[in-house]
């Protein structure tokens, strides 16, 4: 057993000539909630997709529970995916399935739970994220954006993953709904004892859910520390980002 749940070393990824990740190092301990902050287009999503194996990095190493996942065969990858849950930015709910079938997808397809039990479990998880049981039979398109996020969160935690990824969980929600989702993220991650990796540029959300914050800039992690350390740091990049100033070392590429 490794000390780190996820260990990323020297990760490189480029699309054509555009270098997106340029040597990222990242560690996440078991049960820790790490938030990666960074501007739009700095490669946060690419980082998360590399770790999940949705993209193949050009160079570097990613270890999950001490097992190298880059270049691993399908069997190892499947085993890895069954430890993971992911809340997608746009929800990414399957619109051909009902809400409960979405939530129970992993339970039915991979853990081969009987349908009836899976539905009960799905309704239980839905209640956990604050949705009434009568939502279960609706189709995802009948729900509001906030409710879709909750269903997506329910789907991510239904299989009781050891690692949960949150891709901009509060983007596109009103501040109150955003805070509700933050609370749910904290609750569900703590409840499962799972490690969490969140990427966001919403500082309020980052402060609330992070044990530790890392800042991604120009393809590298340029700073990491706790929320308290972040408020005291004199790193000009971090200061500019958390205060949201247009003036500073970070130049917005228009």
């Amino acid at each position: 057993m490794s000390d780190y749940k996820i260990q990323v070393r020297n990760l490189h990824k480029a699309f054509g000539k555009k270098i997106v990740l340029d040597g990222v190092d990242l560690d996440i301990k078991p049960g820790e909630s790490l938030v990666v902050i960074g501007g739009s287009g700095t490669g946060k999503s690419v980082l998360i997709k590399c770790i999940q194996g949705l993209l193949t990095p050009d160079e570097g190493s990613i270890k999950i529970d001490g097992t190298e996942v880059i270049g691993a065969d399908e069997h190892v990858r499947d085993g890895m995916h069954s430890k993971m849950g992911m809340l997608f930015q746009g929800g990414a709910l399957f619109d051909s399935l009902s809400v409960w079938e979405n939530v129970a997808f992993g339970l039915i397809e991979n853990q081969h739970m009987p349908k009836k039990d899976a539905k009960n479990e799905a309704i239980r998880v839905l209640r956990q994220v604050g949705l009434a049981p009568d939502v279960a039979d609706l189709s995802p398109s009948e729900l509001s954006g906030g409710m879709q996020k909750r269903v997506s969160l329910a789907r991510a935690i239904a299989t009781k993953p050891e690692i949960i990824f949150f891709d901009e969980p509060t983007t596109g929600l009103d501040p109150i709904m955003a805070d509700v989702i933050n609370d749910l993220i904290i609750e569900s991650a703590r409840g499962l004892g799972a490690s969490a990796l969140t990427i966001t540029h919403d500082m309020a959300s980052a402060r609330k859910i992070a044990d530790r914050i890392a800042m991604l800039y120009h393809g590298k992690i340029i700073w990491s520390g706790t929320v308290k350390e972040m408020d005291k740091t004199d790193n000009p990049y971090v200061c500019q980002f958390i205060n949201g100033c247009s003036q500073g070392p970070i130049k917005v590429e228009v």
Binding site: L54, H81, M84, M86, A92, E109, N110, R155, T159
Partner: protein, 268 residues
């Protein structure tokens, strides 16, 4: 640098212009080959999603019946009419039944069914899978440890392979019936004679080629629909493009392979 004025540079520029699309085309061909290999591999290895396959079979087969019936009946009718008006000057009206039989079973039923299903189903596949791609639903499948090739592509490919031949066989019958209607009710042939010469002219090779063609067309439709959907990107516009590409490429490939298969079976 003085290089800019050198004549060799113009040639290089020209070659670059030529080379870029060529390289892109070859890359695309490679991508498609890999996609086909992965699709076939995942279609023949477990787990099988039989329920999804059944749903696709109903979508592709049952709901395509009206269009296939309409196209083949009119194809059979028009062939009967044309054959009669073309051959009557040679006094060979009796050839109408066998010409209808041969053209419907060998060519018209498979090609028309293939093209109609390509328009109906190829487009739907590309649009559905493309939307799933751009809304990250395919990524979501992967994170839920489900192989999208097995869950999305394999059921569609297998369903098309099974259903298209059945559609074509039904199209054969309806097309020949269309010829019969014109022959008997318009051209005044004796119904018994018409049916007799149809049955006498029936050869298993005609039906076999039609069925072989249907299998190949089914595969083409499903692969082009899934492939274009799978690699689509960039929101609504990308999905629209994928849909167009799926239908156009499937239609062209159907006509090309129709010729190739005919050549294989009938060229001596």
């Amino acid at each position: 640098m003085k290089e800019k004025t050198m004549p060799g540079n113009h040639i290089e520029k020209f070659l670059r212009k030529l080379g870029k699309p060529l390289v892109k085309f070859i890359c695309g061909l490679g991508e498609l080959s890999l996609f086909i290999a992965r699709s076939v591999y995942n279609s023949v290895t477990p787990p099988f999603y039989l329920k999804l396959m059944g749903k696709q079979m109903i979508d592709i087969g049952f709901y395509s019946l009206p269009v296939v019936a309409l196209t083949t009946i009119f194809a059979g009718m028009v062939i009967a009419l044309q054959t009669y008006s073309g051959f009557s000057s040679f006094g060979a009206e009796s050839a109408v039944a066998s010409v209808v039989l041969i053209s419907v079973t060998r060519e018209l039923a498979p090609v028309f069914s293939g093209l109609m299903v390509a328009g109906r189903i190829g487009a739907a596949m590309a649009a559905e899978i493309g939307t799933m791609r751009v809304t990250e639903q395919i990524d979501a499948l992967v994170t839920l440890s489900t192989n999208p090739f097995k869950y999305l592509v394999a059921p569609r490919v297998l369903a098309s392979l099974i259903v298209l031949p059945i559609l074509v066989l039904i199209g054969d019958i309806i097309g020949i019936f269309g010829g019969y209607i014109i022959g008997v009710y318009k051209l005044g042939f004796n119904p018994a004679n018409y049916i007799n010469s149809t049955i006498n002219g029936l050869e298993s090779l005609d039906i076999t080629t039609g069925v072989v063609k249907a299998c190949v067309f089914g595969f083409i439709i499903a692969i082009m629909g899934c492939y274009n959907g799978y690699k689509s990107k960039g929101g609504a516009q990308g999905v629209g493009e994928a849909t167009t590409n799926a239908v156009v490429s499937a239609s062209i490939l159907i006509l090309v392979f129709n010729y190739v298969i005919t050549e294989l079976f009938f060229a001596r």
